[in-house]
Amino acid sequence: MKNYDMPIFAALIAILLVAPLAIYPVFLMKVLCFALFALAFNLLIGYVGLLSFGHAMFFGFAAYVSAYTVKAWGWPTEIGILAGTGVAAVLGLIAGLIAIRRQGIYFAMVTLALAQMVFFFCLQAKFTGGEDGIQAVPRRPVLGFIDITSDIHFYYLVLAIFAAGFLIIYRTIHSPFGQVLKAIRENEPRAISLGYHVDRYKLLAFVLSATLAGLAGATKAIVFQLASLTDVTWQMSGEVVLMTLVGGMGTVFGPIAGAAVIITMQNYLAGFGEWVLVIQGVIFVITVLLFRRGIVGEIAALATRLTRGRGEAGHIAGNPATTS
């Protein structure tokens, strides 16, 4: 079957290149950061079948590290972002070593608990600034010459980071390594019996996912010049689950669509206070009950039905989580 992923990606990038003409760039940067976050999360749930309910720990902690190194230690922006990403990778290695010892819903509970531990650490540690967070993080020129004080310049840098993250994930999914991950998702005992060191594969996927979630968080901290407790809460972990679920778990573009939908919704509903929580909950319930394939998954299924007989369903993972 012909694979339309790369043409679709090229079209998406083309649209994003001209998007700032019509849409406020800070809003676009927020969508891109969360889209990368959701893509990283989807690597686990969609392709390994592991539901992490604690991804905010990587996103939020990387945000703190990049904001702190740039503001307090005066590190250059790009080094600050890399530092945040690197710390998220180390945190991912530690959390991964603990969490992959259990499967299914236990994995979800363990990651949630570990993330809550990171939350309490951030609440009590001195460098995070407690309830205030780290504010007014400077936007220094990247590599010494790319001025990012203008939102429009910075937008194209964030777009480049997003595209790089997407391509890393895309390559991972379509590599032999990715095939093993999918085999683990479909039937873990069989993958073990074939001689694969399943835990190593899971751990590596977990670290990669944590690293890219950290990259998203570290970038977001520079975009908003702020790192705060909001980004490490369990609600944030829930939001990325929601984005991926709405967009389509186990689809290549689903997390991007989901992030765009949820961030847009939050933007419009910002004045309604606590209703946002209720509406997010309602979307969760409706999606789980009626649209388990998510936006992109449903579209792909529809396309398959229309062209029946000419190929198998693109990248829909029939059931994204069969391990338990």
Partner: protein
């Protein structure tokens, strides 16, 4: 005044009592989670929200209807349990043929809805609830408020009664059999779907009961459930959900350890349970009382 391991005994026993109280709630909530999981294979993320609704139920009955604490203690679990039965019939029952994760996601959504609605209506500052048994007694080494003693006793009695019901009665043997092999039990003419519905209602009722018990101790607050449920998840991971008695013992034990941490190293009191969880996972991945699958 003498000191014990460098700590005044008043502070030590005071924190131990607080730990025991927390443990009572951990035990009640993790027991409910374990009962629901055993039967439905669903991790009830809304458990914390249902606990919060129990506390609000008691507050609302007192404020709007004038029903005192003792009435609420009986009525609230029944009302919230009935709501749980409704949720199970309307939503959860549609997900049993799918992966367990969908049940978790659905109940997470429900938890957001409940918490959001209560926050919208009552804010998040918390409402006071009058202590129904004021006063206490001086035990010599510490002061024991009557109400706190009452909570510990109720929790132990309810936990043991649940354990007895599941492990020692005929109804419990049906339940355990249906957990092992629902198809076979249905073939014997037992209505397993109805048992699942009632089990969910019972588990939710336990959460609501914990909420009513908590109302006079903690302020009644829409976010009281979500913070607690994550700790209870860690308790469940530590204990393993295979054994009812295991959940009870782990709940009380961890409450006490948390209390002791508050005395000796207060900075770690929020995280000690998560640290224990990490250590237990490294040494005994199935949990202290779990059986490896």
């Amino acid at each position: 005044m003498f000191e014990l391991i460098g700590v005044p005994p008043q502070a030590l026993f005071g924190q131990l009592l607080l730990g025991l109280i927390n443990g009572a709630f951990y035990a009640l909530l993790s027991l409910g989670l374990a009962v629901i999981f055993g039967m439905l294979n669903v991790i009830n993320f809304a458990h914390g929200a249902q606990y919060m609704m129990g506390a609000f139920g008691a507050w609302m009955m007192l404020t709007y209807l004038g029903i005192p604490y003792w009435g609420a203690l009986l009525l609230v679990p029944i009302v919230i349990g009935a709501l749980g039965i409704l949720l199970e019939r309307l939503f959860l029952a549609r997900l049993y043929h799918l992966d367990h994760l969908y049940g978790l996601l659905l109940t997470f959504g429900l938890a957001l809805i409940f918490e959001g609605l209560f926050r919208r209506q009552y804010g998040s500052s918390g409402l006071p609830y009058t202590n129904p048994i004021p006063g206490g007694t001086n035990l010599g080494f510490m002061f024991l408020p009557w109400y706190r003693g009452w909570v510990i006793i109720v929790s132990i009695v309810v936990c043991l009664a649940t354990w007895f019901m599941i492990e020692k009665t005929k109804l419990g043997s049906y339940l355990r059999a249906a957990t092992e092999n629902p198809t076979l039990v249905r073939a014997f003419g037992i209505n397993v779907p109805r048992m699942m519905t009632l089990t969910y209602g019972f588990g939710v009722g336990l959460a609501a009961l914990a909420g009513v018990l908590a109302a006079p101790i903690y302020s009644v607050n829409p976010i009281m459930g979500s913070n607690l449920i994550i700790v209870v998840f860690a308790v469940v991971v530590i204990g393993g959900m295979g054994s009812i008695m295991g959940s009870i013992l782990t709940g009380f034990g961890l409450g006490i350890i948390e209390g002791l941490t508050k005395v000796f190293y207060p900075e770690a009191s929020n995280t000690v349970i998560f640290v224990i969880m990490a250590i237990v996972l490294m040494i005994r991945p199935a949990g202290l009382f779990g059986t490896p699958r």
